[in-house]
Symmetry: C2
Subunit: 211 residues, 2 copies
């Protein structure tokens, strides 16, 4: 009957609090916006008060950065996993897109939060710089995947991989926005669009020169 140690060291306890706050912040900020959500909103959602917040973060802005980091790290991991597992199969052109559907589409909260972050990034130079840094890294990962796929298919796309990656991002974020704005948006719009788009890319490509 002796329960497993509910005793947590001080550090563990605080780490738990911090994690809880971040989780609540993700949800609350996504729903009410970076400015619309107050610190009290966030801490209340997590079952704490202001004191807990300022024991864990220097300011509201500082926690934005924390959150930004966490969210992007997650996405980067997904992309890198995809980039790495290419050992097994390289098949149809439309396979190119399938993975991105999984990797770049998140849940609704992620879309909302991304939208909020993006808007904030266009206004706050410091935050914008951090945002762009992570954004570029993500795009670099996508570009790498695209290059490998092009090599597998033995084609040279009409634009550099980085630019195709930009286009892929644009579609992902554009669709996410469309889905936020209109619940009637088809669930697989992104997938259909990617297939059409990469169909066009393949058509506009030239054969790779022999080595």
């Amino acid at each position: 009957m002796t329960a497993s140690p509910p005793r947590l060291t001080r550090k563990e306890q605080q780490a738990r609090t911090r994690a809880t706050l971040i989780t609540s912040a993700t949800r609350v900020l996504a729903r009410k916006g970076l400015r619309g959500a107050s610190i009290d909103d966030i801490t209340a959602d997590a079952g704490f008060t202001k004191g807990a917040f300022y024991a864990n973060f220097a300011s509201k802005e500082a926690m934005f950065l924390e959150l930004l980091d966490e969210q992007f790290a997650e996405k980067l991991e997904t992309i890198e996993r995809i980039a790495g597992d290419g050992s097994d199969l390289g098949d149809q052109a439309d396979r190119v897109g399938r993975d991105f559907v999984e990797a770049l589409r998140g849940d609704e909260d992620w879309s909302r939060l991304f939208l909020e972050f993006a808007a904030h990034a266009t206004r706050e130079p410091a935050f914008g710089a951090e945002f762009r840094e992570r954004f570029d890294k993500l795009r670099g990962g996508v570009a790498a995947v695209l290059e490998r796929r092009a090599a597998e298919l033995g084609i040279v796309p009409p634009f550099p991989a980085d630019e195709i990656a930009r286009m892929t991002f644009s579609m992902a974020h554009g669709v996410a926005l469309e889905q936020l704005l209109d619940p009637a948006t088809p669930e697989d719009l992104f997938g259909s669009m990617l297939r059409l788009f990469f169909g066009g890319v393949v058509v506009a490509s030239t054969p790779a020169p022999p080595l």
Copy 2:
């Protein structure tokens, strides 16, 4: 030397004030966000004070609607102009996109404002409903243009025009976002992307059945 009548009737004067406020609101809201911009910010930019604002708008939220209406009306006009002038020429597949580049791309302020409106629309049901109404109408206009172009080319696209229009919108908004987030984004990304995409649409289309 007698200047032309600087005398304006009361109604004209107020209309001028209102227009000035809306112009300032467009700029200020785009730069600071719907929540970040205060009414004092807006009226100060216009050279007025709070009194002028509340003499012209019932509330901050009400002016959002006013602005929404004005901005979308402008876009709708552009689309309908394009939809109407199709008498002269129907040519290459990539012509399909050229017009949209012009019609759906706005200046940076419009992108920012759209982003703000979109975020607001996902949070405020009433505003969201108004937003969606105008959004749907715009998309309807785009779908109509697409259908005409498909007919000109004698093809049946693999998806209904409405869905292709959604994809076009997604690309337009996605690119706009990309450009806001990263100044290094190629200027004509949207154009290039549209050509690739519609290239893919044409490839995936079937010939139109004879009448």
